[in-house]
Amino acid sequence: MMTVKLQICLIIGVVIYLIIILNLIKKKRLNLKYSLLWIVTAVIMIVIAAFPKLATYVANAMGIYSVVNAVFIIAGLFALLIILSLTSIVSKQTERIVSLTQEQAILERRIRSLEDNIEDNNKEK
């Protein structure tokens, strides 16, 4: 069984975590699109803390003797999920940066050749 103490600690922890997230979103330091996963995990953790029977059920289903361990595992899995989503975001951004860099370099070349043309024309005059 989960102790009341742990329940209270979990709820306080998650509430602080939610406040930080919401604050960051408000200050526009966290993109709402990327914060959804964080908020969803927070909500699930609160639900688990408020209804420990859910955790007991999960623990039994996974063959874990202690409910507390099940809670830790769930929290760890969420952390992994978030890290994976970050890697995916980084990959996407890398692709975009590469694309922008190439486009910029091609434009720079075009400007350079246009400038050369203008210079040549001026010389002819």
Partner: protein
């Protein structure tokens, strides 16, 4: 037929001028563009002073991103054939016409120059040849195409495949991956024999320590393509 030669260059101040001058002598019918991949040495200064045709990337993208930039430039400017050509003097420009010919005839979308068909010229070290044989085999298993020099960076590509490469091109060590991608997308690929030189100066971009990482990554990429997991740039 408008032919463009892409010459990727990273810290090639010793070679680049010779490579371009030799190219102008051996293949006078082509246009060329040097992709300066944010070199740390005097490459850019040399390009500027000699009024060479070049594109200068503001961030170092690595060989894949640089080549892809060349493909984009070639497609933008309506070239019919785009050729990849190393900036370190390893490739011999007199073979460019051999690479272009089958594409001109419309038989293939991509022609790679292989140094292992006639086994002439610089044949690289035996460890590296062993690695290349493994890659050739992996490519053959996964795509059915018979390739003798999977890592060759000397290749000609037609307009259609160049457009495809603008959106799908591996970034790190792209040669074998590009073959898989092109094959699985239904493009026709072949090889012609060429003679390659040992590089005349500078340092190769692949050293021994990186080779293990290179093999693992490329093999993984080849197999993932085959499974059909990846759907990029659609």
């Amino acid at each position: 037929m408008k032919v463009l030669v892409i010459i990727p260059a990273y810290n090639e101040e010793e070679n680049i001028l010779n490579v371009v001058n030799q190219l102008k002598v051996d293949a006078p019918f082509v246009d060329y563009v040097i992709i300066n991949d944010c070199s740390k040495d005097n490459t850019e200064q040399i390009l500027m002073d000699n009024k060479l045709s070049y594109i200068s990337l503001p961030i170092n993208l690595g060989i894949g991103g640089g080549i892809q930039c060349g493909y984009k430039y070639g497609v933008d400017n309506n070239y019919d054939v785009i050729i990849q050509f190393d900036g370190d003097g390893q490739h011999n420009a007199s073979y460019i016409k051999d690479l272009v010919e089958p594409i001109e005839l419309g038989e293939f979308n991509m022609i790679t120059g292989s140094r292992f068909i006639n086994k002439e010229g610089f044949q690289t070290s035996s460890t590296r040849r062993f690695g290349i044989v493994i890659l050739n085999t992996a490519l053959r298993i996964c795509t059915g195409v018979k390739i003798t020099d999977a890592t060759s960076g000397f290749r000609a590509v037609d307009k259609e495949l160049a457009k495809f490469f603008c959106y799908n091109y591996a970034q790190d060590y792209p040669e074998p991956e590009a073959i898989v991608e092109a094959c699985l997308a239904g493009f026709k690929i072949s090889e012609v024999p060429v003679v390659m030189n040992e590089r005349t100066g500078g340092v190769s971009s692949i050293n021994l320590i990186k080779s293990g990482y290179y093999m693992i990554k490329v093999l993984l990429a080849i197999f993932i393509h085959r499974i059909g997991f990846r759907k990029r740039g659609e």
